[in-house]
Amino acid sequence: MCLAVPFQVKSIEGDYAHVEIGGVSRKVSIMLTPEVTVGDYILVHTGYAIAKIDEAEAQETLKLFDEYLEVVETE
């Protein structure tokens, strides 16, 4: 139940978005994240988008793993 799954927004109709990931599509509510637009990645929990996923942020976080290790390994 506590799972949240990332989806990409394909189209928007009022408070709803048609979303898709890996061939699975669904209609979800975007009432809690009105800022999302077509093409965005969103985190969906029990049929509702709870957060927008920032691609640049995900990339940035990945770099952080490496940078963190580089810093602590040379300490």
Partner: protein, 254 residues
């Protein structure tokens, strides 16, 4: 799926595990509060990888498991009413109450239906205007707003036969009760990512302030969890305790 392999990169995971093992500290007790983290820890064998330097303990963070018998009994009593269709997430079906479960109630003729989302319950309400549709509102902070949204939606759509039996619970008071009891000695806590996507990091600040241990808000991939453990161990080594956000979605909002 994009980034999935990267967040499970074995080479980086190995470096993180080696780093954790390189600390001089042994037998540190770190609790993952959230059941979602427990699943990831089991799936990737992280508990064995980190032992004996760090002992990972599973916390009470599963809203299904912490539902009291009396609450299940209430749901069962409602499901037995002929005018009621009780809708619920599938997780709740087998959970025992004092004397029965929703699954048994359904076998005995009660109208209990599994839904994926509160939205599905709204559809059932619209399609059955002569019935009262009760949605079993189980969940922590992640789920509660979605169910609140379904109530607003019912109002907007003029659906008058939809109601929610709210059994929601909050995470920070549960963590506080656990630490207050003093029964479990902990050196750090891995805090739930999805819950924090809703509530931010502020409600956890009492953990370092009042109990002197660190907490890191983490995502659910193995690298997220390993780095979180490393950050907690590093805090203990430096004798500092703070609340840190290591969850990409949150950095902008907190």
């Amino acid at each position: 799926m994009k980034f999935l392999d990267e967040y499970r990169d074995p080479a980086l995971a190995k470096r993180l595990v080696e780093r954790i093992h390189s600390h001089s500290l042994h037998g540190l007790r770190v609790m993952e509060f959230c059941g979602g983290h427990t699943v990831a820890i089991m799936k990737y064998g992280l508990r064995q990888l980190l032992f004996p330097h760090v002992e990972l303990l599973s916390g009470p963070g599963c809203p299904v498991c912490v539902t009291a018998n009396a609450e299940i009994d209430k749901a069962i009593a409602l499901a037995k009413k002929p005018e009621v269709i009780l809708t619920t997430f599938g997780d709740m079906l087998k959970v025992p109450g004092s004397y029965s479960s929703l699954q048994k109630t359904r076998a005995d003729g009660g109208d209990v239906r599994i839904v994926y989302s509160a939205q599905d319950a709204l559809e059932i309400a619209q399609g059955n205007p002569d019935k009262r549709i009760v949605f079993l509102g189980i969940g922590f902070e992640t789920t509660a707003p979605t169910i609140a949204a379904s109530i607003l939606e019912a109002q907007d759509r003029g659906i008058k036969n939809y109601c929610v039996l709210s059994l929601h619970k909050l995470c920070p008071p549960v963590i506080k009760a656990l630490l207050d009891s003093g029964e479990t000695k902990l050196d750090g806590i891995i805090l739930p990512g999805h819950v924090s996507a809703i509530i931010g990091s502020h409600p956890y600040e009492f953990i370092p302030r009042d109990f002197g241990i660190g907490g890191v808000i983490a995502g659910f991939e193995p690298l997220d969890i390993l780095l979180t453990v490393e950050m907690l161990v590093a805090q203990i080594e430096k004798i500092i305790a703070e609340c840190v956000v290591f969850y990409a979605n949150l950095r902008e909002t907190t």
